[in-house]
Symmetry: C2
């Protein structure tokens, strides 16, 4: 994917049409929601206005790296594009003109062998290497800084973008790690199969990135998380290739796949993966349900999990998320008879401000989808839920990758928006939801740019397991223009401290990167960190791989 | 479990009644099967006749260890009991009077804290520690030798045998790691729940052992392998405690559970585990099927896997295993009219010498069991299989833990019997089955004690996954009495070389121990071994934990 087609300081394609442009009614509504008299004008610095430090690589090094990779670039756009990931505070920095983390060059190797040689050279010459797939990390896992080294290169895997083979009998496929989501699915679909890994970043993230951060797609219940569908991989390290075989589960010591999963480029760069595929589903059935409250919606998901119900996705918005999207959708629309009738129906059935929307998705063969859907209906109706039909489900499907695009226009208007996620066992989930919501709301008010200003804090459950589920928070807030990074840090710290104090993991599917480092020792234990350090030392003795990520110093 | 109640040089309870005693018809039949004129008399050395080297622990060390553990024993029975595991060649050595691997003492700590202190003391004082649960390893993972150290203790976990807690909302339970299978299931069943982990060693193995060797129960498809049901654990190491939390799957770097799983005591000793539980099944429905050949039986399992069929177990015997158990069962029985009719039915339906028995087990709620069973019926009938009813399934259930008991009487009669297992992806499975069968048959003939003697080599598929399945081989052979260990090594080497050459893993659920060490580097790669060494070094810098197992020097 040509990097010029993708925004270097925002989400997605450069030519994306901003649907919010000119929607002044929406912006006025949002200002009101945030307790602000009006929104501000906070445009990004254009790239032409930003000074980038010269590349610190010597001509000899450039020549050597270029010879190994076959393609080395150090123009301003390439270096800016690889300076940071796609988190809220990455964008703050990029929009503010801070390119201090830009790598000194970007290498585009086209084979695992080239990557091996590149890493060996970098290790010998003390050059940091930042593996970079789609670059969509929202936790600072691809920041191009050199750490303690004198120079850094980004290792962009997107030149390794081929589907290598399909094994229909085994039900597996093998692809190079730099292939983007849409290219991978298109190639698989041509064979009637799918991986089914659809994170919100699907259009701008890669197979290798999904494995490297132990990711989850929106359909993870149906198709599995990265650790579920991964069968074998190749990971190039400064010490050589880690290559696992396509064995079924076995008892030959710890599984090296499990060590690569979640390694975030600090051990090496994943160059190829073999994974489970399934037939392209004949039917996709996504429908909406309304629950009276978050507790009962959660109950429904827990029962589906305990029941081993084959469902592709269950996604439950909390009352605030339910309210927000309903209100957002009706901005500028006149209320008609239909709305009035709807209000009456809801009130009669006892749905008040606590109500929660749940989207239930079923994919597969017609008969099985219907059987599963009916089993879920029984659970949902037993908990008093009301069906709100397929329209709601289809709208969700159409918009499933659009969320991040709305961040850029908000950034242009003095509004901050970020997401964070966690997971906990069922007994801890409600307390965790309350604690994190409160922490976010409080921190936003405490860091508000003016009295009366406040945030929008909403959450949903979108991944679930037999013993617990994830919680995904979105928070929108008016920015402290004179302290943007500090404000974000305060809010993030409050939320993550609340997560840790209330039995949640510091990340369900975003990863660790730089942002979650301060809580790593608490999550893994001091000895657990020692184990990770020992693994790193064995594969990357000079420490050149993605310095400053995943493993605290 | 009192060690005196369990055989120190054979399988199971000391008071177990030998059903083969006096069945001279069976022994004559077996001699004929093995091409031997008759079987021999090869009794085991009684413990009283064996000289055991004195304990190498100083009085001071004994006192210190005893003070820490609360219970330290060094009588002959205890040391002999912990000298080796339960493999064929372990028994050869024990029965031959070789106690050279006996530990110098056996510690029975009763808490994780005591284990931590014990390991710290052993590490400081250069004493090897061999974690020992039920001691049922068949790959040499609990041999009590001291490796390069001056003394060794067995760390017997069976004093840590309590169910700690049950969390019904999360659907999890926590138990100390030394609890035996039956005690664990009894405690859980009292709460209406089950773990569902039933390896053939179930009666004589422990929760911690199942995790430490990344095990599988016979019902693994329904209840999961150790890595599927494990949620959190405590593993004491010389450097401190690795304690993971009960988080759902997450993206916070590599999962430390995955590093403990399969670690076979070389990093530390697992002291506690939290695991997924399920309701005790209302219905258990096990039935037999007859397939025309192994290929079509394998097809049925592969289709069930691809179809995500919720089945607790599918177990397919190959033609030789099918033939052997039918012949064995009919020894000494007169053939009646029923047998003749059966023969005619089989012949009419085209079942010849290639026919294979498959046992299909379904557990759970009545309705779901029936639905799944019918789905499997459709698959089986579509492949021409014939139902042979519940009797066959019930007999399998009744005898599911009895297999190992038949080894001791064979050992008494000059007969060797061993099992080995592997797994591979579907496309490789048939070739692997042929290659290993041939390797075993050939090696047995080549090492036969007399011309014309031969082996019985049979196999079954008993665990399956979307992309492949396991193969479990049993081989019975007349022993070379003057070269028993050498003969076994030759046969084992031939089989494992064939496994490695034909795309199989060196162990599906037995583990690595000492026996599979020579093939570890091939399976994990040189760099993979470096990673395992690095992990070990970080947790056990002095290398006292279970020396000589899992990780090649």
């Amino acid at each position: 994917m040509d990097r010029k087609q993708i925004r270097w300081n925002g989400w997605g394609r450069a030519d994306h049409h901003d649907e919010m442009a000119g929607r002044e009614d929406v912006w006025a509504w949002l200002a009101h929601e945030l307790g602000m008299p009006s929104l501000l004008v906070t445009p990004a610095h254009p790239l032409e206005d930003i000074t980038l430090a010269p590349s610190r690589l010597s001509d000899e090094q450039k020549q050597a790296l270029s010879g190994i990779a076959g393609d080395l670039r150090d123009d301003v756009y390439e270096r800016a594009f690889h300076a940071l990931g796609d988190s809220y505070h990455d964008l703050l920095r990029l929009r503010g003109g801070d390119l201090s983390t830009a790598p000194d060059a970007v290498a585009y190797p086209r084979s695992g062998e080239a990557v091996l040689k590149l890493l060996a050279y970098a290790s010998e010459n003390g050059i940091a290497v930042v593996p970079f797939g789609g670059g969509s990390s929202v936790v600072g896992a691809v920041s191009g800084g050199s750490g303690p080294f004198k120079a850094a290169i980004a290792l962009d895997t997107s030149g390794m973008d081929q589907l290598v083979s399909v094994d229909r009998e085994a039900g597996t496929a093998t692809a190079q790690a730099g292939i983007y989501g849409p290219a991978l699915e298109t190639a698989l679909n041509a064979d009637g199969i799918t991986l089914g890994h659809f994170p919100q970043s699907f259009e701008f993230s890669t197979l290798g990135g999904w494995i490297a951060h132990r990711g989850s797609g929106q359909s993870s219940h149906g198709y599995g998380r990265a650790e579920d569908w991964l069968i074998a991989l190749k990971m190039a390290t400064p010490q050589g290739m880690i290559a696992t075989e396509d064995f079924p589960p076995n008892s030959v010591g710890p599984d090296l796949n499990d060590i690569a999963l979640g390694s975030e480029g600090v051990f090496g760069a994943i160059t190829e993966a073999t994974f489970r595929v399934r037939p392209v589903p004949v039917v996709k059935d996504y429908r909406g349900w309304l629950f009276h409250d978050f507790e009962r919606g959660t109950q429904a998901i827990r029962r589906a999990a305990a029941d081993d119900l084959p469902v592709t996705m269950l996604r439950l918005s909390d009352p605030e998320e339910t309210r927000f999207y309903r209100a957002f959708g009706s901005v500028g629309k006149k209320r008609g008879l239909k709305d009035l009738v709807q209000d009456i129906v809801l009130r009669r059935r006892g749905f008040g401000p606590g109500m929660c929307v749940l989207i239930a998705g079923f994919e597969g063969e017609k008969e099985k989808v219907e059987a599963s859907r009916k089993r879920f209906e029984t659970i949902a109706r037993g908990l008093g839920a009301m069906s709100i039909g397929r329209g709601q489900g289809e709208r969700w499907q159409q918009g499933r990758f659009h969320g991040p695009y709305s961040r850029d226009p908000m950034m242009d208007r003095g509004v901050g928006v970020d997401t964070l996620e966690t997971a906990a066992s069922w007994p801890k989930l409600a307390g965790l939801h309350r604690a994190v919501t409160t922490a976010l709301e409080t921190a936003i008010v405490e860091t508000a740019p003016r009295p009366g200003a406040l945030g929008i804090v909403m959450a949903h459950i979108s991944h679930f397991y037999p013993h617990g589920a994830s919680l995904y928070f979105t928070y929108i807030f008016p920015r402290q223009l004179d302290n943007e990074i500090g404000q974000w840090q305060t809010i993030k710290r409050a939320a993550t401290d609340a997560i840790v104090a209330n039995g949640g993991t510091i990340s369900h599917h975003h990863g660790v990167g730089e942002d979650h480092l301060p809580w790593m020792a608490q999550e893994k234990g001091a000895l657990g960190i020692e184990v990770l350090r020992a693994i790193k030392k064995s594969l990357d003795p000079k420490g050149v791989m993605n310095p400053g990520k995943l493993i605290p110093d």
